[in-house]
């Protein structure tokens, strides 16, 4: 029980910090409903601004309505939020991810931007992005700080993910 309370506390701390996080990019924020938690899908729910913003752009974060609530009410409903990472330029085009966090745990990673300039890119991304999603989630759970041997695109992807995780305070 104590553990649960601590987890909730850290979630709320993260949410409060996210609310106070200054947004200064054109990246759209994505409102996500509160309980029950439904991970957002990447395509369609988020429109992104200029892809050239690269590392200087801050992503935006939105949270459920319980963000401002004290711990007592937070214990009643699970909180879900989405956080968009920085848009990272790679040799093949910009890569940007959005994470869905439910009660302090990453439940989904979606690519909101990825290179799709030619059919080859689309072919590669159609399998690379889902694979990277599971890779990212397993790397996070294995407490791995960095991965050696990533491709340019996946490196951009992981960098964007890292910035999203950092913004989420995870």
């Amino acid at each position: 029980m104590r553990r649960v309370a601590l987890a909730l506390f850290s979630t709320i701390t993260a949410l409060v910090m996210l609310l106070s996080f200054k947004t200064h990019s054109s990246t759209a924020s994505v409102p996500v409903a509160t309980a029950p938690a439904v991970p957002a899908t990447g395509d369609g729910t988020s429109s992104t601004g200029s892809s050239s913003a690269s590392s200087s752009s801050a992503g935006s974060a939105s949270s459920g309505s319980s963000a401002k609530a004290p711990a007592s009410s937070a214990s009643a409903t699970p909180t879900t939020k989405t956080v968009t990472g920085d848009a990272i330029d790679t040799r093949y085009g910009p890569v940007q991810v959005q994470i869905t966090v439910t009660n302090g745990t990453v439940t989904a990673v979606d690519a909101v931007q990825y290179p799709q300039n030619d059919p080859r890119d689309q072919q590669i991304n159609s399998y690379a992005i889902p694979q990277l999603n599971s890779e990212a989630l397993s790397a996070k759970s294995a407490n791995i700080d960095m991965v050696s041997g990533a491709t340019y695109t996946s490196d951009g992807y992981l960098s964007s993910l890292q910035s999203a995780l950092d913004k989420a305070g995870l």
């Binding site: 990272i88 790679t90 040799r91 340019y152 910035s163």
Partner: protein, 259 residues
Amino acid sequence: MSIDTEHRRPVETPRTVHVEHCMGTAFTIDIRDAGRWDAAIGEVIGWLHMVDAVFSTYSAGSDISRMRRGELRLADADPTVAQVLELCAQAQTRTGGAFTAMPQGKLDPTGLVKGWAVERASRLLTEHGAVNHAINGGGDMQLAGSAGPDRPWVVGIADPADRRRVVRTVSGRDFAVATSGTAERGRHILDPLTGRPAAGLAAATVVGPSLTFADAYATAAFVLAGDALRWICEVDGYEALLVGNDGMISTSPEWRAEC
């Protein structure tokens, strides 16, 4: 952008992360010391872009491109060019020619420059007082100090055939990890001894104290393939992990999961 999470996670390790796009890839600077590191990170970013401006083989105006066209002599180039070429010569000697700054007979120190730039950047951060940090340049990284109190840095080595998997992890303090492979699109590592693309391995990872040499050695190990482990045994302080085209993993005798 830099994110200072120090006040956000009072019980956990403070963290400042910056991602910078440079040299056609992404650099991640991850500092685990408390404080504001804007100035230090700014210096590192400036350094990385300076290196790119001098050493880029894509930019026609770089010192390297001008030297290739015979428009610039070494003596007139940025002083870092002579330093890097000296390091390349050392790497060439230590790898028995499996690494060279002249693949295809053209000046191209790219195989060592990124590792060297990251290692120097890491030293800059340490000089600024950020003694616990990691810098990852496109999958090659220098790690300084530790990831947190009582916690070493943990680096996963990606499976070249299946990115969902990490084949091994290596953890420790003050070390470097570099991986060469065919997974990156458009990248072909030529065997300088045959002039043909090396095809004996899926990936080669080298761990050791300096990313400058780990980067060059990973390229050499990839080229040497079946002879790489015998060769790396002769190199003090560096170990290798090879992933074959069949997915078989082999490591040098002194390879440790913790270094």
